[in-house]
């Protein structure tokens, strides 16, 4: 198990044991700003000299994946899960969107195994943030023709939110500075990346551990969905990756993005755009079930699944 995952488990264990340990809010904020910038910068530096002809069609496929996933999740949530339209739409939005930290753990997983991936992947992270949120809201609001969605406010919330601004900003900085221009800030943004990720995961563990009671309250379906949905999504992601002709590493990353559920951008956007949905439900599922599942069991599993599916160089 990668060392960064151990920090997550420490957080979960401390919280379940009843410890009051907490990281200051400002530290959490600072670390998340750092991680988003660092991921963006890394992608941006490598973006220089990439053939845009390849990236363009792949980008479209990635957006399509973001649109498809909530369409898969919503009917299951409505019929099997018996959720009302708002909660079903909100959950679908969370699961179609992505978790940047899960992505970072997958990148660390690849680095530990010397597997290559398309360096412009952070662009895909940006592209997959928003579409599922829009689809989830449309699905929830579909039965209410009277209600109009404040799309302007929503676009503002999502496109100018922390995640996209910092990822895109990092991409731009990396791209403009290039491999030599970036050198002065490498000691901070590159060498320390995994250590910072580790501390962030400790905090995530504390928060996830604190959701235990809530998860128990919401019941077995939510847990089942929180485990099954990512596996199904990963399979769909692997299929997309095959069509997009991604490398073995890229296949794992796309599977992970598909499998991951948002817990930063989506909650913030939906609280404003879909206030009828119970925010505790989505967070319990995405942060309390799916996130831990993905970083401990999921990522290695998707790596295997890619191999079974015949991706060369896969696990």
């Amino acid at each position: 198990m990668d060392v960064v995952v151990l920090f997550f488990l420490l957080g979960v264990a401390a919280r379940l044991a009843g410890s009051d340990l907490r990281l200051p809010e400002a530290l959490y904020e600072a670390l998340s700003i750092y991680l988003l910038l660092a991921i963006g910068i890394k992608g941006g530096v490598e973006l220089a000299g990439q053939p845009l002809a390849t990236v363009g069609p792949q980008a479209l496929a990635v957006v399509a994946l973001g649109v498809l996933l909530p369409l898969v999740a919503f009917p299951v949530l409505r019929t099997v899960g018996r959720f009302n339209r708002y909660d079903a739409g909100a959950l679908a939005a969370h699961y179609g969107s992505v978790s940047v930290v899960t992505f970072a753990v997958a990148v660390t997983f690849l680095a530990g195994r010397d597997l290559e991936y398309e360096p412009y992947f952070p662009v895909f992270v940006v592209l997959m943030e928003a579409p599922a949120i829009v689809v989830g809201i449309v699905l929830a609001r579909a039965g209410e023709p009277g209600r109009r969605v404040a799309w302007g406010a929503l676009a503002h919330e999502v496109l100018l939110g922390k995640s996209i601004v910092l990822l895109l900003g990092g991409l731009a900085i990396g791209w403009i500075a290039g491999p030599t221009g970036i050198v002065p800030v490498k000691a901070l943004f590159s060498d320390l990346f995994k250590g910072v990720l580790a501390i962030f995961l400790l905090e995530m563990g504390l928060v996830a551990g604190g959701r235990a009671a809530e998860i128990r309250r919401y019941g077995a379906f939510l847990v089942a969905f929180g485990v099954a949905m990512p596996v199904v999504a990963a399979a769909i992601g692997i299929a997309f990756a095959a069509v997009m002709d991604l490398s073995a590493g890229g296949t794992l990353l796309l599977a992970t993005l598909a499998a991951s559920a948002s817990y930063i951008a989506a909650p913030a956007a939906l609280r404003i755009a879909l206030p009828e949905a119970n925010p505790g439900l989505s967070i319990a599922a995405s942060l309390g079930v799916t996130f831990p599942f993905n970083i401990t069991v999921g990522i290695p599993l998707y790596h295997r699944m890619a191999a079974w599916a015949g991706v060369p160089g896969g696990g």
């Binding site: 907490r22 809010e25 504390l206 928060v207 604190g210 930063i264 909650p267 913030a268 609280r271 404003i272 206030p275 009828e276 925010p279 505790g280 967070i283 942060l287």
Partner: protein
């Protein structure tokens, strides 16, 4: 100490509403407001502020009774159904009545 009677409205709610509330209260005639980050618990469970979605704010508005009443009305109608909101009103006295 000569004071002029005003009303103080305190609203404790989700941090996600800060921007919306400030816009609303300006529109409804409040001359100012003060916000403070808090944590707490109520009907809708504990809001321990340990996660972005769990942060709460406490908004304080001093104003004429009419302004405060309009604000209360608006918040009840707009936010109370779907958001964690607590509100209370007290009497207060100010020194410079034109300010509030």
């Amino acid at each position: 100490m000569q004071t002029h009677a005003k009303k103080l409205l305190v609203v404790i709610t989700e941090a996600a509403l800060e921007k919306l509330l400030v816009r609303d209260l300006r529109r409804l005639g409040a001359h100012g407001y003060t916000v403070c980050d808090v944590r707490g618990g109520g009907e809708r469970g504990e809001r321990a502020a340990d996660w972005e979605a769990d942060r709460s704010i406490r908004v304080e508005v001093v104003g004429d009774e009419a302004v405060v009443a309009a604000l209360v009305e608006h918040i009840l109608a707009t936010y109370c159904a779907n958001y964690a909101v607590s509100m209370y009103v007290t009497d207060c006295g100010v020194m410079r009545p034109h300010k509030f």
